[in-house]
Amino acid sequence: METRSLTCIGCPLGCQIEVMMNERGEIALITGNTCQNGEKYARKEVTSPTRIVTSSVRVYGSKTGERTVPLKTASDIPKSKIMDVIRDLAGVSVPCPVRIGDVLYKNIAGTGVDAVATKNVD
């Protein structure tokens, strides 16, 4: 039996979760979580860890003089792809106005996930 300890990141409580794996590398028992999301997170974190990536890119033509717009991946992407997402965003510049939820980069880093704006910029 192998035990993996992780800190849940689903919410700021940061529960300490223990995941016991059996000989076949399957999850045998999850303890320490205080909600369903914690169990889901633990399952995912030991099998295929993912992250939502947030960053910002340049804007042009802002009436209010803004220089950047923040964005996020619309859903989580494999942890191993974080730097690929960031590389795709290098040099990207988008025209204003931008609304929350506007797609700023389609299928980023080949993840099948879009990067979307998280702020309104006029």
């Binding site: 700021p12 947030t54 960053s55």
Partner: protein, 430 residues
């Protein structure tokens, strides 16, 4: 010059001010003005572009600007008046219980305002290098983590390429990741205390994910470089938090970020003459989040520094409701006698908000928030009313970096009609 009168003026249009305004409106108050000194509403959330906000409030994981927009939309839907670029210069008690405010803005010039009630939601600011006494010259390249956050996320500049971070507060951790993603090399994060002041998930996602070492019980003892930071020296500290000679380590870097604590921004509160807490650096408040000056309420980071915006919104909504009720009841029949039972605390609790309770003023329930002074495990929080244990909450782990809360129900308080003592203690849980 004539004074413009409102029932309620809210100073600060960040998460606390927005939530207070919306809650006061929903409680029936219609004469509300929000004063914000920045050029947009939302406060510090605008530069907090990372996710993790709103899980409690919206059951969704939002970024800072998205969370702010939810509340800005609520404000706009209700047509609540606000002024941007408006800086409050002074707040004073005037005649007949009115509060007088002097504010300036480029658009409106000097404004003299008065209000029945005021909610203080000015937030906090960062402790700076000056507060730390680190020897060395004053080279470029020393930034507070929040300044660096603004430079990267809003202005679009990268403040340095090789970075050392002092302090493991959340903004420092968030910036460790942000600088890394923007191409900088973050060498180390040093923390004076034997534990991190930041949330665990930030240590996981911002340091561990990128292999950035966290050195607990370490501090910066020297900043090298005259024009620009050229390096910093980090040393281990003993239990007395003094550097241990011989443990110094040099790091070649061009930037030092400081994430060494937040200070509630209370110049206006002190100017008003409200009683202050020496622990939180915020005003002393009762169950209605009302300061020692009647009709002046406080909520959010100006009251005590929070870890979570969701709790700021919740606390501020309570202040908004209480302020609206204060205005509604103002000038009514002689009020019932005000009872003020101080909350006594012990067992490692550093402070509580509120500091006192009038049980008759508690509707449905009251949330008491507090922090402990040290990392503790296997504890229980016990509430005593007149010496009798009435509530026990088990806590596996308690840490100074994570705010605790307790709920006292109206029912529980009503069950003790002649209540005179309220105590909250952290005890060993056998």
């Amino acid at each position: 010059m004539e004074r413009t009168e409102y029932n309620l003026i809210i100073i600060g249009g960040g998460p606390a001010g927005l939530s207070a305004a919306v809650a006061a409106y929903d409680e029936g108050e219609r004469s509300i003005l929000v004063l914000e000194r920045d050029t947009r509403l939302g406060g510090i959330l605008n530069q907090c572009i990372h996710n993790g906000f709103g899980l409690h409030t919206f059951q969704e994981e939002l970024t800072g600007p998205e969370y702010a927009q939810r509340y800005i939309d609520k404000l706009e839907e209700r047509n609540i008046e606000y002024k941007l670029d408006a800086m409050v210069m002074s707040l004073e008690s005037g005649k007949d219980g009115m509060k007088e405010i002097m504010a300036v803005s480029e658009k409106d010039g000097l404004m003299l305002l008065s209000a029945r009630a005021v909610i203080l939601t000015m937030g906090c600011r960062e402790r700076s290098r000056g507060a730390l006494n680190i020897p060395g010259f004053r080279p470029a390249g020393v930034f507070s983590a929040g300044t660096a956050q603004r430079l990267v996320n809003i202005e679009g500049y990268l403040p340095g390429r090789r970075v050392v971070i002092l302090g493991s507060g959340d903004i420092g951790l968030i910036m460790a990741r942000r600088m890394t993603l923007e191409g900088a090399k973050v060498l180390v994060c040093a923390e004076l205390m034997p534990y991190s002041g930041g949330l665990k998930r930030n240590i996981v996602q911002c340091l561990d994910d990128f292999g950035i070492p966290l050195k607990l019980s370490h501090t910066v003892v020297r900043i090298e470089g005259k024009e620009r930071v050229e390096g910093v020296v980090i040393a281990e500290v003993g239990p007395d938090r003094k550097p241990i000679p011989g443990t110094e380590e040099h790091y070649d870097c061009d930037t030092l970020l400081l994430s060494v604590g937040l200070l509630p921004e209370n110049e206006l509160t002190i100017g008003l003459g409200a009683d202050m807490s020496r622990v939180t650096n915020g005003p002393v408040v009762n169950e209605s989040l009302e300061t020692s000056v009647p009709g002046v309420f406080a909520a959010g980071n100006v009251l005590h520094v929070h870890d979570l915006v969701d709790y700021v919104s919740e606390e501020s909504a309570h202040a908004g409701v209480c302020a609206a009720r204060y205005i509604r009841d103002y000038g009514g029949e002689a009020k019932e006698e005000v009872k003020r039972i101080p909350i006594e605390f012990g067992g490692g609790i550093r402070y509580t908000v509120p500091c006192s309770i009038d049980p008759g003023k508690v509707e449905k329930y009251l949330k008491i928030r507090f922090r402990v002074g040290d990392v503790m495990s296997s504890r229980k929080v016990v509430v005593y009313l007149d010496g009798k244990s009435v509530l026990t909450k088990k806590r596996r782990v308690m840490a100074p970096g994570e705010m605790e809360e307790l709920v006292l129900t109206e029912k529980l308080l009503k069950a003790h009609p002649d209540l005179s003592r309220i105590e909250i203690k952290v005890e060993e849980d056998a």
